[in-house]
Structure formats: C-alpha cells, structure tokens
C-alpha cells in the first residue's frame, strides 16, 4: 500500500464513521442496538424512554430500583403507552390507576412475564 492509498482508506473510513454517527443521531433505535451490541448498558430519558424502554428486558437486566427509575420521569399517559405497547396491561386494567399503581403493576407483570420466558 502506498501513502496515497492509505490516506484514501482513512478518508473513506472517516466518511463511513461520520455517516454512522449521523445516522445514530437521527435514529436512536439503531444507536441503542449498536451500543447494546458492544455490551454497554443503556438507559433512557424523556420521550426516548417511552419509545425504547422494554419493561421485560429491564426486569431481568436491572434491579427493582432501576426498573422504577426508568418510569419515574414519565407522565401518566407515557406509562400507559409503554404498558400497552408491551402488552403488559389492557385499557381495562389501567382504568383509574395512578402512576405509582401503574408502575407497581408494570413491575409485577414484567417480572412474571420475563421469568416465564427466561430459560
């Protein structure tokens, strides 16, 4: 390899990583998958948390305090959205419940479901 082609390769790699970095910015789901793939722990806040938190996974990978912390900053509507999206509660189950009760339910059910599925 000549110096010239070396330069060329580095420039191309830079471009590649830049594209990846930009894509990760724009696409948090991909970022999370990549970060998880290298074995790092990820936690989320705000609207991203609503989109990306998986209660069953969280029930296995973190302790109860960690689980509750992931929901602590969410609004009532967000908590309901997460529970519904992960099939942990129906609208009927959640009717009239406040955030603390919903988080209790989420924890109980996520632990149970994850235990059923975990080998």
């Amino acid at each position: 390899m000549t110096d010239e082609t070396d330069q060329d390769a580095f420039t191309k790699l830079d471009r590649f990583f830049e594209e990846l970095r930009l894509e990760m910015r724009a696409n948090p789901e991909l970022a999370v998958r990549l970060v998880k793939a290298i074995g790092a722990e990820v936690s989320f806040e705000g609207t991203l948390a609503v989109k990306l938190v998986n209660p069953r996974e969280l029930a296995i990978t973190s302790d109860e305090a960690g689980f509750r912390a992931a929901f602590a900053a969410m609004t009532l509507a967000d908590i309901k959205t997460v529970l519904k999206a992960h099939n942990l509660a129906s609208a009927v189950d959640m009717k009239g419940l406040q955030a603390p009760e919903l988080i209790d339910m989420a924890y109980r059910r996520a632990v149970a479901k994850a235990a059923e599925r975990n080998v």
Binding site: N87, L88, A89, S90, A91, V92, D93, R109, A112, E116
Partner: protein, 316 residues
C-alpha cells in the same frame, strides 16, 4: 350420541380442534372459538387441553396461571392418574372454573348476569411425563397403543358425559400427533374443527388427518368437519392453495372464515397476567370481525347439520 328410532341424533357437544400437522393454529383457533362463542352467543364453554405443550391453557390462563392451576390439583394429567389407578372417571375436580379474559363476560358475572363463560381443564407440561409413564405401564402388561387409546377413550367418555349437562360446548385442543391421549380425544369428539395453513405441507397434513380419522374414528368425518384456513398471507400462492383446498381436495367440508396472519393475534393470545381483562374489542382489535365470523360460521355449521338446539346471538 343417542338414538331416536333408527335415526341417529348426534350432538355437537364435544368438538376436537385437531390436525396431524403442528403449528397450524389449533390452539389459537380453540381460544378464538371459545372467546367468540362465549361473547357473541353467550355459550358456556369448557376448553380441555390435551396437549402437554399447554398452549391453549397458557393463552387462557397465562403460564403462571397454568402453574397455579397445577398447584391447586387441576389439569388433564390428573385424568391419566385416575385412569391408571382404576378410579372412577371424573373430570369436574380438575377444572379451573374461571378461564375468562373478556371484560364483558366478567362484568356480567359480577352482576350475577352470567352470559357466556369459559372454564378450562388445563394441561401442564407434566402431562407428557404422565402419558409416558402410562404407556410404559400399559405396554408392560402386553397392552397395545390401540387398546390403550380405546380404554382411555372410554375413561374420557365417562368423565365428560357428566359434564355435558353443565356446558354448551366442550372444546378439545388436540396435540399434533397420534399419541394414545390424542387418539382418545379424537374418539370422543362429535365434531372436528380442522385448522390448516394454505400451503403444500399443511394440505398434506390435513389430508393425512382426514384419511386416518375417517378410517379409524369416524366414517362420516367429512360431514362432521369444519375447516379454517389460518395465518393467511394474501399472496398469489396462498390464494391458489386455498382455492384448491376449498374447491377440490376438501370440497365436501364446511369451510369457516379464512383468518389472516396478524400481530394482533399474537398479542391477543399473550394475556398480560392472570388478573388481566380486556374488552372483546380491545383483545381482538382489527381481528374482531374475523373472530366473530369464526363463531357465526361454526354455529351455522352446527345448525345446518342439525346437531343441536339453536344458539342465538346475545352480543353483536
């Protein structure tokens, strides 16, 4: 089955949901039928799980519920123990009286206005071991698989006949093979619901099922069969295969609706918890029309064959 002069009056009380092919939607169809018949027609349905995979039991009760049931001494494996020990055939004590997840059914019950209900005689993974133990024991006494199936069928017949006055329908979720247990289930059934996929290997499995059951269990099987094409992906290939099944190979069989493949079915069968309830609309979402038609068509089939007093709609 009783006789009126020379004319056979058949009852449609025991329905086997069966196919030799695995994974064609037997358990899912069992649960959809139970929910929809209870919800739309107000029927009192018992779901009997004869499969050690315990899938319909999980769908109805959740996995935790299946274990809880077993801890309370419930489950089909107890029927085998009873048979092995020569005790009187009785299924009542092994039934979970509440396997309802539909809010409207629960709400009516709370007001003592029961209008449609589901109970379950669940399976537990233990069933596999118990069936093996039974086979070991039976064959060591020079019994054969056929004599075992026949003796078990008599035991089931006795056990279920006490239940017939208590339920409108008994649905048997059968395993995908011909073990003595599944043969006994097929032998006591009056009607067969045969789910199948619209593909070549499933057509093959369905054909095998029809010919085996036709020769060994029910000569008039064709007349007693209700087939449902499940997990239908609307492709050219699937449409062709379905058309062949309905118009050529199984042209004498009553076909219920074609059930599309849908994620909604997966979530509907994954009950969040044993104390979780959902409205029929919430549970089945955009599939609710398909699930309603499944029950409507099944009821039409039963009426057309004149097996039963009429079932009428109680909810739309």
């Amino acid at each position: 089955m009783n006789t009126d002069g020379n004319r056979l009056i058949m009852s449609a009380n025991i329905v086997a949901i069966a196919n030799l092919k695995g994974g064609v939607g037997k358990s899912t169809t069992t649960v959809m039928l139970a929910d929809s018949l209870a919800y739309h027609f107000g029927l009192n349905v018992l779901v009997v799980d004869l499969d050690a995979q315990a899938n319909s039991s999980q769908m109805l009760l959740t996995e935790q519920g299946v274990h809880a049931a077993s801890e309370q001494g419930k489950g089909t494996h107890h029927l085998l123990g009873q048979f092995l020990e020569g005790r009187k055939a009785m299924a009542g004590p092994f039934i979970m009286p509440n396997a309802v997840s539909i809010e409207e059914l629960r709400a009516a019950e709370m007001k003592s206005e029961r209008l449609g209900w589901i109970s379950a005689l669940p399976a537990h993974p233990q069933l596999r071991m118990d069936e093996l133990a039974l086979e070991e024991e039976w064959y060591s006494r020079t019994g054969t698989p056929t004599t075992l199936s026949e003796a078990l069928a008599r035991h089931f017949q006795n056990a279920f006949s006490d239940l017939l006055p208590l339920y409108d329908l008994i649905l048997l979720d059968c395993p995908p093979h011909l073990s003595p247990l599944s043969r006994a289930g097929l032998a006591v059934a009056d009607v067969f619901v045969i789910p199948t996929l619209a593909d070549a290997v499933s057509s093959w499995g369905t054909k095998q099922f029809m010919s085996w059951v036709g020769e060994n269990v029910r000569a008039d099987l064709v007349n007693r069969s209700f087939s449902v094409i499940t997990r239908f992906k609307n492709t050219n290939y699937a449409r062709q295969t379905r058309s062949e099944l309905q118009n050529v190979y199984l042209k004498d069989i009553w076909f219920g609706p074609t059930i599309p493949e849908s994620v909604q079915v997966l979530t509907a069968m994954d009950r969040p918890a044993a104390d979780s309830y959902d409205t029929f609309r919430g549970k089945y979402g955009k599939m609710r029309g398909d699930v309603r038609v499944l029950a409507e068509e099944f009821v039409k089939f039963v009426h057309a064959r004149k097996w039963n007093e009429s079932f009428t709609k109680v909810r739309t």
